[in-house]
Amino acid sequence: MECTAGMTAQKPSVVIQPQTGLFQLDLLSVWQYRELLYFLIWRDVMTRYKQTAIGAAWVVVQPLINMLIFTFVFSRLAKVPSDGVPYPVFAFAALLPWSYFSQALSKASGSVVTSANLVTKIYFPRLLIPLAATLAPIVDMFFSFLVLLLLMLWFNVVPSWGLITLPFFILLAVLTALSVGLFTSALNVRYRDVGSIMPFIAQVWMYVSPVAYPVSMVPEQWRMIYSLNPMVGVIEGFRWALLGTTPPDPALMAVSALALLFFCLAGTVYFKAMEQSFADVI
């Protein structure tokens, strides 16, 4: 239109048009909305245990009960070895990242659908939704971590210097949950089946991860394929950093990390492509 002629000097702050390329990830806007990300995480944390009798204690009760069951079933009944550390500590060190991961994965998968009221009424980068859902359970992990320290004190287990690498393994766990969550949360918008299938996937995933047993029990020839599961590296890393068990293979970790970055990118691309129809389909 000709009347816009005088406007050419000013740059539009927003241009609205159909999205074309696959790789317009617009990650900058995620950064611009970081305050909202913070509030979404804060909301998740604040509301998780509202109106429960023992409140935030659930955060530690769940992995503790799991640990007791594992100790009884795997250690006492099945006589599973535990890499030379007391089995309860051995199991809890793995349950720490695993509880986080399963929590984050299930929250992330349902996140976009449960945020339907936001998605249909307000604009913000939709990536914030699964991102907040995967980040919020880190707070839970922190509390469980304190319990683990008590357990270690009780069983006289001293952490190695590898403790400083723990943030790296936490990051890997977050990336794993996020990568899968990006796919499942977007898919869930169109197919609610995802909600039913995720608990099952999480359960199978746990058995192919060394939560209840050490990696050393996996036959040598399967070890390579087994390690494709990024949670193997995460759990091994946690055990090594906290309990000083055998360190994970650095080469394997690097491959794992790279593969994760790739999956995370692919998840983001998929999410962004699906995102356009969220408000119309949800």
Binding site: G6, S13, V15, M46, T47, L118, R192, V281
Partner: protein
């Protein structure tokens, strides 16, 4: 001329009916559907039938500081347009450029969490609608004041009454200070007093030089707030101009559709009545101007009753009971003639002055009375009297209460000077004015 705030160029939004159908779909349905679609592909037109355009080639410009109303029927595409402009959904084609920070209010209380307290929700909701934390902190007291729920600030909002909830939610929204504000019909909730407060706030946003786009079905509000109105119908802008003009054209169209302005009975024995009197025609007419123009509160009009008097020298009185939209009789009026009427087709006309009735769809009942005492028959007229409120008023945006809204003479006079001499000079000793 001020700068452009929004420039929309041929925005279109296509929905496939199938997309709507996928809602809460399952993979099993999807598989079944894929099988069906194999057959569907054999029919070339099939996919075209399943799409509809919620918006089709919508182009317009809004300048900085304009307060633009969007009106139209439900499903006309108003909300879709707002959703596209606020980036909730993407256009299928076309392009829009927005110059400035956009805030959109498609709903009050988006993101409110019932378990969180009022205080916490102010922060959460503020962040959701696009306020910075610092901004919320700065405005916090103002928000609480506006909401009038200060005492309950630390109570979870699930324990709030719906009125308190809405007030708090709107209070947050009202303190959003974007350069461009997009507002959907969010004010259909809450009590009248609070609605007025909110509309006043929107008005002051625009006075502050910011741009507002406002969807409403409240024509009074649109008229009072907006300088310009876009009328959206069938996904297209079919009218664009000064608020009062577009609103009255829109309302005229709305009254045209399916509403009759008269009842007639062709044959003398068809109409309602008795052996002695039978109605021929009942109609409502403006006293002057184009009959296709709508009736507004100011318009004088007449009700004409044509009837066959089949018995010479009957003493008949036509009486009308006029009902307000609420079903209350606003008044009864009847012709006063005491002369006997000749046999034949007669017409009695009642004249209703302007500035008398309140707005809304009024109905009336015609009574034919004989000898001032016995009601021969009553006829509930199907002709609606739709009185529109298109007055432009300051600070008032809704229907005033009252069975009628007469315009009366008012005077105000100064009886004594104030002991505080400072304000003396402002007033002349005697003021007289007619209240609007």
């Amino acid at each position: 001329m001020s700068n452009i705030a929004i420039h929309a160029d041929q925005l279109s939004k296509r929905y496939t009916v199938a997309t709507a159908k996928y809602r809460h779909d399952t993979l099993a349905d999807q598989l079944a559907d894929s099988v069906k679609s194999v057959f569907r592909r054999l029919r070339p037109n099939a996919t075209e039938n399943r799409t509809f355009w919620a918006l089709k080639d919508v182009s317009f410009e809004v300048r900085e500081g304009e307060l633009v109303g969007i009106i139209g029927h439900n499903g006309a595409g108003k909300s879709t347009l707002l959703k596209v402009l606020s980036r909730i959904t993407q256009p299928s084609s076309g392009r829009a450029q927005i110059y400035g920070r956009v805030g959109s209010l498609l709903e009050v209380g988006t993101g409110f969490h019932p378990e969180l307290s009022g205080r916490e929700n102010i922060y959460l909701n503020g962040a959701v609608i696009g306020m910075k934390k610092e901004e919320i902190r700065r405005q916090f007291d103002a928000i609480v004041d506006f909401s009038e729920v200060g005492r309950f600030l630390d109570m979870p909002v699930k324990r709030y009454s719906s009125g308190m909830y809405v007030r708090l939610a709107f209070a947050v929204a009202a303190h959003l200070e974007p350069e461009i504000l997009l507002v959907d019909e969010v004010l259909a909730v809450g009590d009248i007093a609070f609605q007025k407060k909110c509309l006043g706030k929107i008005g002051s946003v625009a006075d502050g030089g910011r741009t507002v786009i406002f969807i409403s079905h409240n024509m009074t509000a649109i008229n009072s707030l907006c300088n310009r109105v876009l009328w959206v119908d069938n996904g297209q802008i079919i009218d664009d101009g000064p608020a009062t003009q577009v609103v009255s054209r829109y309302l005229a169209k709305a009254t045209d559709d399916g509403e009759l302005s008269e009842e007639t009975w062709d044959r003398a024995d068809e109409g309602p009545g008795t052996d002695t009197v039978r109605l021929k025609r009942v109609r409502v007419q403006r006293l002057d101007g184009d009959q296709s123009e709508p009736l507004t509160m100011e318009t004088p009009f007449k009700i004409e009753i044509e009837y066959w008097n089949l018995v010479a020298d009957a003493r008949l009185h036509i009486t009308i009971h006029l009902y307000t939209p609420e079903g209350i009789v606003a008044f009864t009026t009847g012709c006063q003639n005491s002369q006997p009427l000749p046999a034949g087709l007669l017409r009695s006309t009642g004249y209703i002055p302007g500035d008398l009735l309140n707005s809304g769809i009024h109905r009336f009942v015609v009574l034919v009375v004989k000898d001032s005492s016995s009601v021969l028959f009553t006829h509930e007229s199907q002709v609606p009297i739709n009185i529109l409120d298109v007055r432009q008023r300051e600070g008032s945006y809704g229907k005033e209460p009252g069975v009628v809204q007469p315009r009366l003479v008012w005077t105000t006079e100064l009886l004594d000077f104030s002991p505080d001499s400072s304000c003396q000079s402002e007033y002349s000793p005697y003021l007289s004015m007619q209240a609007a």
